[in-house]
């Protein structure tokens, strides 16, 4: 189980010189992209909330948060990375370790991943492999171990490939979630993970520690839900801003993130009282669903939607890089160790709308999530976002479309890649979709 295997099973040998050179260029390019994204977000809302400054800063993948984690590590803290939302972060926190999600949102590194896996493989996977190859991701590099959850095919093999570098803890997720044996199996995985984390960190996960961690995540969920609540009415925050807030939770300090989000909500509530909207209240309201969209390069679609002519506003999403991160609290009845562990198991399995699940109803939970969002957030159009190679999301589209057709909400299937080359064509698609939504109102 100990790390550093002698022989690499997947990864090619890359010279130190090449690693350093590529890392320098790609890091510089990425810093430019992040700065540009934020500039555009600022421009989109001239009266952007003060509190967004914090999230702009923390969104810098090579900035303050990386330094903080390095300092914690120097004091002996462990960092546990993960690639899927199923990783039970409360357990990591309860063991005084730092959870960080390490999926790559860099387009450039997906081309490096091509050296290991074919181009048909989902670019999120290829890009994460590429990022590891040149040590681009600070959070990945800082991780002492990685939790690899076997959800889609790409994720299943990603952990195996990354085991050339890192200690990997696999978690086996049952594909049929609504059965007692599935839950029992998954709860065992959770207990096993608890033991693993305790042994690895040398910190015992006590009842009190776990309760504190769960309470912290309750508070975060509450702050998150308050923010989402504010997106139900006339727009007081650009979708991109809210999406950035949600995503930074994946690497930020959980308590501080919660406080900053609460501060943001305070500001936004005042703004709502003043009826000071970020854009006209009749701007078409868009929801995004599909493949996760990792910062920074994957801001392509949200930027197109909100800078399109006619403009759209993103009011909701159903993505594991977005609202799914914090939507569901761990539901504890009694605060016994057993009850807490079972509650964690249930929250990560049952609440998930990941397309890796099926059952006799199919992934009914996802359909319900989408229909509820459409209703409560008054969504006028859905963009179904899929990167090529993301098989499960691509396959579930037909079903989602049928469900949305029934309630007369247009959905547009937007397939793309980890590339900037298709921005022009995507713009035409997005604009035509928004024209269509606008035309439902006038013209």
């Amino acid at each position: 189980m100990m790390n550093e295997p002698v022989e690499k099973r997947y990864m090619p040998e890359v010279s130190r010189k090449e690693i350093d050179e590529l890392k320098t260029t790609m890091k510089a390019a990425s810093q430019k992209v992040m700065a540009e994204n934020i500039e555009r977000m600022k421009k989109a809302d001239p009266k952007r909330p003060e509190a967004m400054k914090y999230f702009d800063e923390i969104s810098n993948l090579f900035g303050k948060r990386q330094e903080e984690i390095a300092a914690e590590k120097a004091k002996g803290k462990k960092v546990i990375g993960y690639m899927c939302l199923f990783a039970p972060t409360e357990l990591i926190l309860a063991a005084d370790a730092i959870p960080v999600r390490v999926n790559s949102g860099w387009y450039d590194t997906s081309k490096l991943g091509d050296r290991v896996v074919p181009v048909e493989v989902c670019p999120v996977i290829r890009s994460t492999i590429g990022a590891k190859m040149i040590e681009l991701s600070p959070f990945m590099e800082q991780s002492d171990a990685l939790i690899s959850v076997l959800t889609c095919d790409g994720m299943t093999k990603l952990g195996e490939i990354l085991s050339d570098y890192k200690t990997i803890w696999g978690m086996n997720v049952p594909r049929i979630k609504d059965s007692t044996q599935s839950l029992r199996f998954w709860n065992d995985e959770i207990k096993q993970m608890k033991n693993q984390i305790e042994t690895f960190t040398g910190n015992k996960i006590t009842r009190n520690k776990l309760k504190e961690a769960i309470e912290l995540s309750h508070r975060a969920t509450k702050a998150f839900r308050r923010l989402q609540e504010l997106r139900k009415g006339s727009p007081v925050i650009m979708g991109r801003d809210a999406m950035l807030v949600n995503q930074t939770f994946l690497w930020d300090d959980k308590l501080r993130w919660t406080q900053k989000t609460e501060a943001l909500c305070d500001e936004l509530e005042k703004r709502a009282q003043r009826k000071d909207w970020v854009c006209s209240p009749d701007t078409p309201r868009v929801m995004i669903t599909g493949t996760p969209m990792f910062w920074p390069d994957n801001w392509k679609l949200p930027t197109l939607v909100e800078e399109s002519n006619p403009q759209g506003i993103i009011v909701a999403d159903e993505q594991c890089s977005g609202e799914r991160i914090l939507n569901d609290p761990v539901g504890v009845d009694e605060w016994s160790m057993d009850d807490m562990l079972n509650a964690i198991g249930e929250r990560y399995l049952m609440a998930s709308t990941c397309p890796c699940f099926t059952s006799k109803d199919g992934n009914e939970d996802r359909i319900n999530w989408l229909l509820n969002k459409v209703k409560d957030w008054k969504v006028q159009g859905v963009v179904y976002y899929v990167v090529r190679g993301c098989m499960l999301y691509a396959m579930e589209y037909t079903r989602v479309k049928k469900a949305l057709d029934k309630i007369n909400v247009p959905v547009y299937y937007l397939d793309t890649e980890y590339t900037r080359e298709d921005v022009g064509q995507m713009k035409t698609r997005v604009e035509a979709f928004l024209e269509m939504l606008t035309a439902r109102v006038d013209m």
Partner: protein, 302 residues
């Protein structure tokens, strides 16, 4: 129209640039609007008088979109007596829509082709296939020409006008004869397996070496393109009446094969060569000019 392969150094891919003025008059009281559709291959500009097609010009898009837009609009104005300043409102559309310098507003070619198809063929049109130079769009519309859903092919020129140009050059057949020639086969051959423009060339060369006639090669390639387009139409959901717009609407080889594959007849194509007849290649520009009229009137009311 020239005979295939008769002129040395002939550019077989080059299609006819032309302009047309419809037999009607305008006065200073009329509302003049224009649509400029800068596509990846062709630039089209249409002038409307009170929402009726009056004149248009079709030119090849150069490397510079604003220049192409200007050129197309001047071409549409040629011989009409109208000046650019007579135009009250201009809508830009097409791939280069944001680079139409004189446009008051940009609208996507998807909305414009929908509107234009409704104008050309009337309110019974429900499905529009727009085959442009670099992409294919299948568009569902309502009786007013409003888009209800659409699909677009990915970033690849397969089965598009640009792909046909490559073939015209390869087989040395003038582009405008390609459709007809592709139909001169006794039995329809299997479609080529790969429609990729880059690879299709290699595959076609292989077939020619194997002794296939030009007609047969063209039939196999055109068939493959038509299959791709029919798939797109099926995915968006075919509802009658069906029409084809864009440059490839003039390719009888494509249109007739789509009809066979889908088992429906398209609404009759106006014969664009006749004076006084509309041209589905300018559907986007016509739609844009109609939007221009609506937007101008809306602005006047406000």
């Amino acid at each position: 129209m020239t005979e295939a392969g008769t002129v040395k150094g002939q550019e077989f891919w080059r299609w006819q640039e032309y302009h047309r003025i419809m037999p009607k008059k305008w006065t200073n009281k009329d509302l003049i609007t224009a649509g400029v559709d800068v596509g990846s291959v062709g630039s089209k500009a249409a002038i409307m008088v009170n929402g009726e097609a009056y004149s248009w010009g079709i030119t090849r898009t150069g490397s510079n979109s604003p220049e192409s837009a200007t050129k197309a609009l001047s071409y549409a104005l040629e011989g009409t007596g109208l000046k650019a300043s007579d135009i009250k409102y201009i809508v830009g559309t097409g791939y280069g829509r944001v680079n139409v310098p004189m446009a008051n507003k940009a609208i996507t070619e998807i909305a414009c082709h929908a509107k234009g198809a409704n104008y050309i063929w009337g309110p019974t049109v429900r499905t529009v296939l727009d085959v442009g130079g670099q992409d294919i769009k299948a568009i569902r519309i309502d009786e007013t020409g409003r888009v209800t859903s659409f699909l677009m092919n990915d970033k690849c020129a397969a089965g598009t006008g640009r792909g046909m140009e490559v073939f015209a050059d390869l087989l040395q057949i003038p582009i405008e004869d390609i459709g007809g020639i592709s139909l001169k086969v006794e039995k329809e051959p299997e479609p080529v397996s790969c429609t990729c423009v880059a690879f299709a060339k290699t595959e076609a060369m292989g077939l020619l070496r194997k002794g296939w006639t030009k007609e047969k090669v063209l039939a196999a390639y055109t068939r493959a393109m038509a299959v791709r387009m029919a798939n797109l139409i099926n995915r968006v959901g075919l509802e009658k009446e069906l029409v084809v717009t864009g440059g490839q609407s003039k390719n009888i080889g494509i249109v007739s094969r789509i009809e066979v594959i889908l088992g429906v007849k398209c609404l009759p194509m106006p014969n664009w060569r006749d004076e006084g007849s509309l041209d589905p290649m300018v559907a986007g520009a016509l739609g844009a000019a109609l939007f221009a009229k609506a937007l101008y009137e809306k602005a006047q009311k406000a």
